[in-house]
């Protein structure tokens, strides 16, 4: 057998993702932050893994979700857990705050981007620390943005109008959850890689709460679909 050692020594650069997770929507509400994501991992256009729970609890008061290459997500979860474990090593009771995780992830993403081998992810970190809620987006390039609402993937295109009209940063938890459910309803209609089962998770003063996956109500009997009023008929 001939082993081509040159090939195995060559480092591959991530150019396109293989198994991908869908959109993530995160909203701050009065008293915390809630994140919603669907439970699908797509293999290209195939809906390959339909029961994936993607909300990772990184520490007592921080959750992390991302859309993009799922294996990169799994690796990042391990990296973030490493930081939390270092508190055990030093035995000094100091735990990273959500902002520490956010900044660390930004530095990591930026480093990988500089080597033209990015973590193919749009990351969302949410937490609650010292009475303050925290929500940030770290993108594939390492851009770090703190905000009261964050959307990734197709949600950035379809859902901002919904969020804009029905959400404000001081709404209740239930209101925020309802907005997210509406957004995923729309996404399921319009995004080919979306799924109708979603999972919500929220962080507040008491800590992290990740809910069981739920099926989003879908409605297909719109007049527009039935009568196809907006479509031009193809004639011979």
């Amino acid at each position: 057998m001939i082993f081509n050692s040159e090939l195995s020594a060559q480092q591959q650069h991530t150019t396109s993702p293989v198994v991908t997770g869908g959109s993530v929507i995160a909203l701050a509400y009065k008293g915390g932050v809630v994140i919603g994501t669907d439970t699908l991992c797509s293999y290209g256009s195939m809906a390959a893994f339909k029961n994936v729970e993607k909300i990772a609890q990184v520490s007592k008061n921080t959750i992390y979700v991302s859309s993009g290459e799922y294996s990169d997500f799994q690796q990042v979860v391990k990296e973030l857990a490493k930081i939390d474990r270092s508190a055990l090593q030093y035995d000094d009771g100091v735990h990273p705050s959500p902002r520490d995780y956010g900044n660390f992830l930004a530095r990591l993403s930026y480093k990988k981007r500089c080597k033209i081998n990015p973590l193919y992810l749009q990351n969302v970190i949410a937490g609650f620390h010292n009475g303050e809620r925290y929500l940030a987006l770290v993108d594939i390039y390492g851009t770090y943005l703190e905000s009261n609402f964050v959307t990734t993937g197709f949600a950035s295109y379809f859902c901002k109008a919904i969020i804009s009209n029905y959400w404000n940063e001081n709404c209740t938890l239930d209101q925020a959850k309802q907005v997210i459910r509406e957004c995923f309803k729309v996404l399921f209609c319009r995004d080919c890689r979306a799924h109708d089962v979603i999972q919500l998770g929220y962080v507040d003063e008491q800590g992290v709460h990740v809910e069981q996956p739920e099926r989003v109500e879908t409605k297909w009997d719109f007049n527009g679909f039935k009568t196809r009023a907006n479509e031009k008929l193809h004639t011979q």
Binding site: Y90, D92, N103, F104
Partner: protein, 248 residues
Amino acid sequence: MLKHLYDTDCVTWSPQGKLFQVEYAMEAVKQGSICLGLKSNDHVVLCSLKRQPSELAGYQEKQFKIDDHMAIAIAGLTADARVLCKYMRTECLEYKYTYESHHPVGRLVFKVAEKSQHKTQSGAKRPYGVGLLVAGIDPNGVHLFETCPSGNYYEYKCQAIGSRSQAARTYFESWFHLFQKSNLEQLILHGLSAIKKAIMEDEELNEKNVEVGILGKNQKFTHLNAQELKNYIAQLETFNPNSQIQQE
């Protein structure tokens, strides 16, 4: 008398279970001029006596800022102190670059202690000849640590190291129960009073040979300037810790 048989290097134990090289290194700390630190619920104050090698020279600085929330006072070999200071500053900068927050104080002292211990377990190395008083404030609270050439570190309410530091420690033993609730001014006066106990009869405290650094929960590390030092030293004449007890 047989000490010299076991004190050639760090990798030789004495029959009594001592590492003489490490103990000799601690002697170097005791030769340095005095520096002390004390803390309250909100502030840490570092005071040190600066030495002047000759009349033509300036005074040797003994307090160095590591980061906005942390500073050290040194006693012993200044060159070794410089190395540790640089290391601590680098670690703080790297932590800030990665996490955008301040390096936890205890953790950095632990790292320094690890570094120091490493030097005590090698045939080709010698221990650092400097003791540090590390003052810092982090979410865990207000801290004062002492590090040793041996690689040990301890957290203190107040501590003095260097030449004639026992006199200052004796002062602390009488009054440290007041420190926790003291305000900044009282804390500085306590520190200066303690240093005054440690100077020689023919020496006097003045704004040139004393260094006072302060760190507060809402205050970055700063040194008192010459005028402020003069004022505090003048207040020493009338400072009476007993009056602080009456207030409470």
